[in-house]
Symmetry: D2
Subunit: 386 residues, 4 copies
Amino acid sequence: MSDLLWPGDHRCGELFSDAAVLAALVGVESAWLRALVRHGVAPAEAGTDLAGRAGPEDLDRLAAAAESGGNPVIPLVALLRERAGTPAADWVHKGLTSQDVLDTALAMCLRDAVARLRVDIVVQVRALARLAGEHRGTPMAGRTLTQHAVPITFGVKAAGWLDDVLDAYDRLDVPPAARFGGAAGTLAGPAALAGSARGALALAAAAADELGLDHRPRPVTAIGDGLVACTDAWGRIANDVLLASRPEIGELSEEHGGGSSTMPQKRNPVLSVLIRRAALAAPPLGATLHAAAAARVDERPDGAWHVEWATLRTLARRAVTAGAQAADLLAGLRVHPDRMAATLAAARPGIDAEQRGFTGDADGPYRGATDAIIDAALQRAAGVLG
Amino acid sequence: MSDLLWPGDHRCGELFSDAAVLAALVGVESAWLRALVRHGVAPAEAGTDLAGRAGPEDLDRLAAAAESGGNPVIPLVALLRERAGTPAADWVHKGLTSQDVLDTALAMCLRDAVARLRVDIVVQVRALARLAGEHRGTPMAGRTLTQHAVPITFGVKAAGWLDDVLDAYDRLDVPPAARFGGAAGTLAGPAALAGSARGALALAAAAADELGLDHRPRPVTAIGDGLVACTDAWGRIANDVLLASRPEIGELSEEHGGGSSTMPQKRNPVLSVLIRRAALAAPPLGATLHAAAAARVDERPDGAWHVEWATLRTLARRAVTAGAQAADLLAGLRVHPDRMAATLAAARPGIDAEQRGFTGDADGPYRGATDAIIDAALQRAAGVLG
Amino acid sequence: MSDLLWPGDHRCGELFSDAAVLAALVGVESAWLRALVRHGVAPAEAGTDLAGRAGPEDLDRLAAAAESGGNPVIPLVALLRERAGTPAADWVHKGLTSQDVLDTALAMCLRDAVARLRVDIVVQVRALARLAGEHRGTPMAGRTLTQHAVPITFGVKAAGWLDDVLDAYDRLDVPPAARFGGAAGTLAGPAALAGSARGALALAAAAADELGLDHRPRPVTAIGDGLVACTDAWGRIANDVLLASRPEIGELSEEHGGGSSTMPQKRNPVLSVLIRRAALAAPPLGATLHAAAAARVDERPDGAWHVEWATLRTLARRAVTAGAQAADLLAGLRVHPDRMAATLAAARPGIDAEQRGFTGDADGPYRGATDAIIDAALQRAAGVLG
Amino acid sequence: MSDLLWPGDHRCGELFSDAAVLAALVGVESAWLRALVRHGVAPAEAGTDLAGRAGPEDLDRLAAAAESGGNPVIPLVALLRERAGTPAADWVHKGLTSQDVLDTALAMCLRDAVARLRVDIVVQVRALARLAGEHRGTPMAGRTLTQHAVPITFGVKAAGWLDDVLDAYDRLDVPPAARFGGAAGTLAGPAALAGSARGALALAAAAADELGLDHRPRPVTAIGDGLVACTDAWGRIANDVLLASRPEIGELSEEHGGGSSTMPQKRNPVLSVLIRRAALAAPPLGATLHAAAAARVDERPDGAWHVEWATLRTLARRAVTAGAQAADLLAGLRVHPDRMAATLAAARPGIDAEQRGFTGDADGPYRGATDAIIDAALQRAAGVLG
């Protein structure tokens, strides 16, 4: 699954790939079938393992066949029934609807993507905590509206990045959940099968538990917004690095610069460029999820559901790619205190004007409460780093 | 502050109006001035009350003057200093930067908007809980992809709306916070004034406490996303009401229909129309806040900060208007069980096909686990209704 | 109509203000009434002048009353009828529907906004043509991915900006059009009044002509996209100016820098900051218009029409403000060839590597085809400057 | 290239696939190499054919290698040089920059996508013209704000759809153009090679001509907006069909309904569902292109360029899929005049109220100017159908 037009996408590997989605779909059907057997709804002989009954070689066929019913679950169920043999075929997907299977499979893919993100965010947090601590006393020019404002330290700047990343991390805390509601979400099918509402709830809970998923679905926009919050945080860092990597400033640089097809001297801050790219792409994808949520109607909407699938996949892969790049960027970031000092010196005496207004002493306590700000961020970081 | 092009906007009254923003800005400067006096930084005589020193009559002048520095705080501070007299003039805004004052004032306006939303959401929740309870046993056709799917009850449909509204309500729980960080967010100015970092933190805490605001700013996208989640939830309800209000369906209707300029017979579902309008407008506004967050650079960004102000105001007023309309819509919603029954009867026997597949008995337990679903939603509602 | 949260908005004056919209609405009703009289449908005595029958003092009342029917035309028609006296009252709005009046009034407001934009774009084009011509031979460092790439001239950079502005200018060429279609757009009402389809078309044409509007409405997204294309073009210029205004680069500066509330030394590139702000806000507003177009249903949609009005107004005012600011920015732009030369010198020899690869002579024809590129842009500009 | 999460995507075949992009990239390099040879810049022996020197088997490797420099052209050029042999290797890509090759290749892919769209739009226009003509006299209820408004004909409704599609068709008329500008767009490299600016322009023109592309690039937003305008038009049609396909209305139906995974009786209007899905997805993608345009800086921007590539691809494939589905939908649309008549009858007498207000005769000229409206649309259609 190459993506020539989104360099870095290969870092996602199979996350949310068609093959991974298919495996998750089959996993959901399997978990349901097992729940039916274990709760005595289906006979024990129906309890065949569906894993491996459909795989990558079926993707082209399934994708093409998905159009006539509007989703890939319909042809997949046909295929699984065909391959599961008697009596399992009679019980595959029994009581479910396409949305159950697809939404639950997407939750599984999202869980994997978020797990990957957490790993990379921990790397980022560790790097940022180190930068904030080590550069607690590294003076540099603070800038507002592009102009030199007042002196700050690189440590407090890194602490600001860190706070942002931690805020984003918190927003990923949306439990991935199963949906087993049947045709209109009322559990009528399962209730008919199990003979009672209580039985239907037990079936749904059993299948969700087997998949390790929460029982109550949250609006998909919640995790979508969390993913966008991540790319926002990384985008801000990338912007700062891109600026500081400019030769006229030179206060930061990436560990490895990227080359050019025609200019041999160039060392481009490529990771930052690619992260910034993701930060431009993500907000409209998040908005698509909200627009879809706002366009819902009926017990299953006529397009607003369908648009979520690929949007979630794209958003998740963009976030995972950017998260991995941000981890690399921060772990390898080169800080140039000499250039920071030189900028600050050149910005004087103007940059000290505010402080002189207070103290008449530009060498006074210009670090402000930066240590306290840094320490607060480090304390939050410790909660993540364990 | 009329808005001829957003009918219903008058329901917001002065929420986030220019006058309200100005009052909040003055309130922030006042709180800071008082903190300076109470902490012995400024002399007691500087402790004048700024409230009323700038008011609606200054708005045109301040708005026009805001352009040259890029924000309204700069001319406001000049005005307040001019009017505060000696010695207060020397201490007004001392140690702060424009962003402190503007962001904190916006947090105050947001708090008022959210408070208003909570009131209207409680009305909605009460109405929805009543509908879900009363119509627990009111059968209707469930619809998926526009077609009759399986029987449901109107109670379980209302419970679905209720769950959605409660999810959105939860997302409004973002503590509005003050920002008192000085020129580059390092508290250097306050520290210089107070003589220590500890003193600077105490000043910031005191001013925030006086305003009743939290001390730690959250990303503005968090509350922005919460507002959009609200309009998403109401948009879905509006879509269902709009559909059910069609004369061919007639299962629901608004309490008062809207008239037409030329067709005397019309009874338009106007509240739903106007709510749906807000649900279309909100997601791109939320995306603007994310795009701004992703475009941050430096200690204060060159445009990405400025775009947030009006976007937040528009989003908040859209949400408050829609929230009030949704409260009216739900409190007055007319349910027509006879028409629901007629639709269901006409949809038979097809609509019972799924159940017959399970039980051979279409009059069987088609209500599924709807009582359990409704009860769970009612229990969540009880947490809000108290 | 102050806007404290969008500094510079006062430059729009009454463009698209509630008062202007109301005047346009009354103007549309007047033109229709006159057409009815002139074509002998209404009696001569009905031909009263409606202008002035409703004005700014009615705005609050009309805005509040707009909610019950969902649009401001319904209460306005009631008001005009009340005030027009007999027999005009019987003929006001006869044969029209709210959408006719509102869409045509919006077209009038848009026409005024575009006319204003054209004036400011001509100023921009004149300034850009001057910059491109004067700096044809001013060398500077070309930059790609933030790094020094190859030498260019400031003239060719200004020519690139110019080309962009001219492309945007072309996209404003969407004729503003009247809509006189009656209740469902079929001209049935007018046809009943005039006694024939031909008569209905004549009435619609006469009213459109009187208002100076085209007869065939275009999708509102066409002009919306044109407005966004403008802010895109200005946003790019602002980004380049913001970068070049940084003290470390210093190759360009605004004529007047903006001040700070706390840092006396600052000279912020405020016009560029505010333009960049608009460039962030506009794309999602354009997307709202597209989302509304895509959500249309029936002969008049249930919310998708309503969301267009305020979105168009906001987008138009954002564009007009940014256009005026861009005109000022470019007319007053300060170019610093010495700083450009210094950057270029410091970037050597690396920046000449590509050329040396071709010619072994870094002082060779590095200006490339810049004169030809500049001349082509100047030729396009001449078409606008007349 | 299966896409399990966007049913119908397989209709795009290889349009804009990684393989197609790669072939286009190689095609651009080939055209340039030939231009160098033909203009005597490179020796005749360098004129090897590059087609086939890189192919699908290289995609994974190229995609992964694209990250380090930020784009796929850098590793592709290395590969082509390696495989082209001496002396071609010395001349491959000489004078170009990555952006030249990538932007020109994207223009080629866009051209192919637009060509495909035109074919499908012609099918749509033919179907719509037929529907408008055949149902010129088929009465139905016009609806506004979901309620019955006045009688119309299905013919005039189809003519409205047709006008919309024709408007969108017009917006696709953006000539795809080559970009051969060299490192910073100044043609300095080509000029150094050719020995003159004139020579550089000749080289660029020759390569563009060989690829059949225009010489002047337009903003990528122009074609992006055109693609979104298409999905807007189809989205509106889909919404009307979805509504009319509801069993309670039944005035229209798709030729083939889609099935369900669990409800045997269902006939879902799947094509309309999938088209509506695309109409929800496209506007934010168009906004991303605008946001990228607005974020440009320098001679090549640091992320704003990179985000365009995949966004364009996704938008183009979404549009092509929806266009093919809309062609099928319209060519096979089933119209049910009996149901339309029944709705109209049931809506009487209310629906005639407006006409009675004019004529006292509800059977009067209610068709308004519908014939004239239809004829005007048919005349526009004839221009496309030839």
